[in-house]
Symmetry: C2
Subunit: 309 residues, 2 copies
């Protein structure tokens, strides 16, 4: 699956992913009003607002980007209707030719990890039939439980041609509490990175592995070291923009072939119309156009700073 992602990145010339993390507070009033008029101020109404919001953003940006990353927590908080909106979003993005990274940060052991892998990347057998539960192309996975948690995902990756991104060094301020602690002179995140490289060998797909990793844009010095530890792992980079990561700081996340990293922006794109920078030009009714402009600006920013193009 990573080779498909690379192909799409090269075609769009856009090493970016749009995070579809729809907080209700981001959604323009007219979308919410229409959804609540139809379904009331209910979970169904909220889920409909989320879905219409996503759809408009996808319609306005799909030709520019390789990939989206819905954050499942934002859907899960609306219960069953929210999960339906998640699935609808995944399916719709596929219809529009986008790849989908399910930002689910699952992780358990053995048959439980296998069930999560099935839920998000695989298909489940019921009697003599098989069904795709949620059907993302990639999933984010938490490595704290070790190989027992990761290998069931690798089996599904190999069987179904899918991929994962393992949390190595997250973008948040407190990520250092455990991840930065020194073990035999090296921080934990480097040891996790070593394992990512090792697991990655079990699911190669061309020059890169289906096993990628997450390293926050907020820690470019660490990104530089981690890049070298996991040469064949694609790095999914959160933390650009809203969290303080800069385009200049993204350079070390890429390999010399110009590949190896994909940078996420969520709020910065989907709630662009709320930023001073775009609010003048785009009314809330034109939020999706603001998102399109924000995508164009992000691509330009990253390509300029990282590749000088």
């Amino acid at each position: 699956m990573i080779s498909k992602l690379i192909e799409k990145i090269q075609k769009t010339n856009a090493p970016i992913v749009v995070g579809l993390d729809p907080m209700l507070s981001y959604i323009p009033e007219h979308i919410k009003a229409a959804a609540f008029a139809e379904f009331g101020e209910t979970l169904e109404g909220a889920a409909e607002a989320v879905w219409q919001y996503n759809k408009a953003i996808v319609d306005a940006t799909y030709d520019l980007i390789p990939c989206v990353k819905p954050q499942i927590a934002m859907y899960e908080q609306f219960g069953i209707p929210g999960m339906i909106a998640f699935k609808k979003t995944v399916d719709y993005c596929h219809e529009k030719g986008l790849l989908v990274i399910g930002d689910v940060k699952r992780g358990d052991i053995g048959s439980t990890s296998a069930a999560y892998a099935t839920a998000h990347l695989g298909s489940v057998e019921v009697g003599s039939s098989a069904y795709v539960p949620f059907g993302e192309d990639f999933a984010t996975v938490n490595p704290y439980l070790g190989s027992d948690g990761v290998k069931p995902f690798l089996e599904v990756c190999n069987k179904e041609n899918k991929g994962i991104f393992l949390l190595v060094k997250t973008s948040n301020p407190s990520s250092g509490e455990f991840q930065d602690r020194l073990i035999d002179g090296r921080p934990l995140y480097e040891w996790v990175g070593e394992k990512v490289a090792e697991w990655g060998e079990m699911s190669m797909d061309g020059a890169y592995s289906n096993v990628g990793c997450v390293v926050g844009a907020t820690y470019p010095e660490m990104g530089k070291i981690l890049r070298k530890i996991m040469l064949k792992a694609y790095i999914l980079v959160p933390g650009y923009g809203a969290q303080g990561g800069t385009a200049e700081g993204l350079k070390p996340y890429f390999n010399e072939d110009g590949l190896g990293a994909i940078v996420n922006s969520s709020r910065g794109i989907i709630a662009a119309y709320k930023q001073a920078k775009y609010a003048d030009k785009f009314a809330p009714e034109n939020f999706a156009d603001a998102s399109r402009q924000a995508v164009i600006d992000m691509i330009e920013d990253i390509n300029g700073a990282v590749f000088g193009r």
Copy 2:
């Protein structure tokens, strides 16, 4: 919420939790046949089988136990119908007076962790109304992202009187890959334990904290040390029975007050009818009676070995 759990443990004299982790392969043929007859070999059919299986086990055991722990991965793998079966199970267990630990192992940062906390322990506002998305009483949480991931859960715990169990030392063989690595002479799981104790102070509920932890029954020596590091944390103990943890080994997980630990069994209870020990006495049609007997035996085993009663 931990005081409610303690009250129920004392009332039932059963420091145990039944893991509702329904693999299709555990479910007796007659349940599956009835579900498939009604809904076909579909996700809806699988979800119906899961629900009927759970309901029968809950009906046969609810008077003996304080608590159940559905493993959400086993439901998530059946997509939306699976999630509906999860919610139905949570609601039904509440109707029967049981507390529910959502074994969801979620963990993210900031607003995303807050959304997970809302999904599983809180209520979500939609316009002027509020809804309970999944409504468990406790959730398991992964600590790899540090305080940024945990504090949003604590806020919900304090607001809604709920609790969490943070993964400290998991029961699986590879848990040591990261969790056992030495940092300043002490394994990572001890440092996580120290943080659990610290976070726990932020959500006390009587003598114990709403912040509990997970320590596998398979590592009793580590359990002994962790018990002392987190005196006010309830320990949720997986790994008893099927994974090799013994009742004798559970002693160090309890405090001197006879409290402080709750031991999970999943397969050992819900698929008891498949074990040689019970298969002679209980036909597959009587699987729920086998589960009841397995609960009685587990309580006796633990109370005998740990408390000599």
